[in-house]
């Protein structure tokens, strides 16, 4: 199994969710996040005084999938999240040793 993590622009969240639902992904976790990459931050101006705000708001989407689905799911997220402008985010995957469904105790891919 693989844990796929995507950091994307908040306003692309709905598109990513829809794309994953179409692929039959049953669940995901979304967290509000902030950070910066090449986009860096932005500038805010209060009474003429400029403040550099380093951290940009993003959403972090996490989903665990079977190894065979991982490429398709990542491609779907990238396609749905892309605007072509700086700050579109990143998607990565890491191997997952095991997963347990808390309610039933099922383990491995059955728990997904």
């Amino acid at each position: 199994m693989k844990l796929i993590t995507a950091i994307v622009k908040p306003y692309r969240l709905d598109e990513v969710k829809t794309a994953l639902q179409e692929l039959g992904v049953h669940g995901l976790t979304v967290t509000e996040a902030s950070g910066y990459g090449r986009q860096r931050g932005h500038t805010e101006v209060y009474r003429g005084a400029e403040y550099q705000v380093d951290l940009v708001p993003k959403v972090r989407i996490e989903v665990v999938v079977e190894d065979a689905d991982s490429e398709t799911v990542m491609d779907a997220i990238v396609k749905a999240a892309r605007t072509g402008k700086i700050g579109d985010g990143k998607v990565w995957s890491v191997p997952v040793e095991t997963v347990v469904r808390v309610r039933t105790g099922e383990r491995g891919p059955d728990a997904l």
């Binding site: 902030s34 805010e44 101006v45 209060y46 009474r47 003429g48 005084a49 400029e50 403040y51 550099q52 705000v53 951290l55």
Partner: protein, 439 residues
């Protein structure tokens, strides 16, 4: 605002009704100011900011009734400098006392609400870092030693600025705006800049709160300015319209500068511009033409939008721009009376534009310099004295943690916000358990 006491003075019910309402309007400005200021500070000291305004209501009221009213508006003690203590403790004044066409007790209360907001205005210059105990001592001392004399000079019986000099100030450019601005400058110099001034981002934590405060201020300002006619009459109506007009052009002027200079029109700019316009029209609303009001507001909006940047260049942390908005706006409005005063409003003096020459402008300038210097020097002295004795600056740790938690044992919001320095774990279960169990 010349108080006239006549033996045969009669209460006018219309005038009295309007002044009752106007007094309540002006009092509402201080809670409005608390919100205006409170939204501009960070989450960790917003309650302290609100408290500095609210305690001013209580403190100034007590000293005003005890001695302030009598010293400001009692019979002149000589030279037009200060009143006597004849009415200390409101002695000799009752429901039958009449001032002009309104009850004296109402006139005294109306004037009290001006003293309250002037004290509260100063707090913006020393946001986030003043010792609360020292503020509680400063406000009554300042009210008696700074506000009261200046109010007597400008509006008291035989006060030298109006009676001898002949400078005009309808609703308080001198006693309120210039006095609060010059005093704010003195205090922020005595206390020094906030920790992290010019280094850390000190963003306003709640701009909707600032907008609400600005709206309440604008609403109350109609009581402030139109109420200063001390009657329900045409002059009140003219002052009312001038007040609306200058607030509008102040807002537009500030936003215009922002769009050109910074690239964006901001909500804080709109609120600040409206307030700057209202500040400037305060002295002039009862003496300038409608064209004058348009220019006064516009000039204040444009000039003040630059003046708020001076503190970064000159290194004084006037945190919420009491100098940039109230001192500068007050000076603009008081001086422009010398340009735009019309006879139909003043009943005599005319400004430069209406054929009055430079005479009125000169008188206005003398009044501005005298009041500005007096307020600055006296406030500096009082603040320095308190700093040497009680200490006026909060402990560094308290300031860093935030005065809400360290002084008031409260925090304004349940959740901290990243980057605003809200104390982590401020509301723990163990502190909740200390609450006394119910019987």
């Amino acid at each position: 605002m010349t108080p006239v006491t006549l033996a045969a003075a009669q209460i006018d019910t219309g005038d009295t009704a309007w002044l009752l309402a106007a007094t309540a309007l002006v009092l509402l400005m201080t809670p409005g100011l608390a919100l205006f200021y409170g939204g501009m500070v960070r989450t960790k000291s917003v309650l302290n900011m609100l408290m500095m305004s609210f305690v001013s209501i209580a403190l100034v009221t007590v000293v005003w009734l005890a001695a302030g009213y009598s010293l400001a508006f009692g019979p002149d003690a000589g030279g037009g400098l200060i009143g006597t203590l004849e009415h200390a403790g409101m002695a000799g004044l009752g429901p039958d006392s009449v001032q002009g066409t309104v009850p004296t007790l109402l006139f005294a209360t109306f004037q009290l609400t001006f003293a309250i907001i002037t004290a509260a205005l100063i707090s913006g210059a020393i946001a986030d870092r003043a010792k609360f105990g020292a503020w509680l001592v400063f406000v009554p001392l300042w009210a008696l030693l700074v506000y009261v004399p200046v109010a007597h000079w400008v509006w008291g019986p035989d006060g030298w600025i109006l009676s001898s000099l002949g400078a005009l100030d309808f609703a308080g450019g001198l006693p309120v705006e210039i006095t609060s601005g010059a005093s704010g400058l003195a205090l922020c110099l005595v206390l020094g800049p906030r920790l992290g001034f010019k280094k850390d981002a000190m963003r306003p934590h709640n701009l909707p709160m600032v907008m609400l405060g600005a709206g309440l201020l604008w609403f109350g300002w109609f009581g402030f300015n139109a109420g200063s006619a001390l009657g329900a009459n045409g002059l009140a109506a003219a002052a009312f319209l001038n007040t609306l007009t200058a607030g509008c052009t102040g807002l537009l002027g500030w936003l215009f500068v922002e769009q050109k200079r910074d690239g964006h029109p901001t909500t804080l700019g709109a609120a600040s511009g409206a307030v700057a316009g209202l500040v400037a029209i305060t002295p002039s609303c009862g003496s300038v033409s409608l064209l004058g009001a348009l220019v006064v507001g516009l000039a204040a909006g444009v000039v003040c939008s630059y003046a708020v940047g001076w503190k970064f260049r000159l290194n004084y942390d006037d945190s919420l721009d009491v100098v940039g908005v109230h001192l500068v706006g007050g000076v603009i409005g008081t001086l422009l009376i010398g340009v735009f005063a019309v006879e139909s409003m003043t009943g005599g003096p005319e400004g430069l534009l209406y054929g009055g020459g430079l005479a009125q402008l000169g008188k206005q300038l003398v009044a501005v310099l005298a009041v500005g210097a007096y307020a600055f020097l006296m406030s500096y002295g009082i603040a320095k004295l308190l700093d040497r004795t009680l200490g006026f600056r909060a402990d560094e740790e308290h300031e860093h943690t935030g005065l809400d938690l360290t002084v008031h044992a409260e925090t304004a919001y349940d959740h901290g916000v990243l980057g605003h320095g809200a104390p982590v774990g401020a509301s723990s279960v163990s502190s909740a358990q200390k609450v006394k169990p119910q019987a």
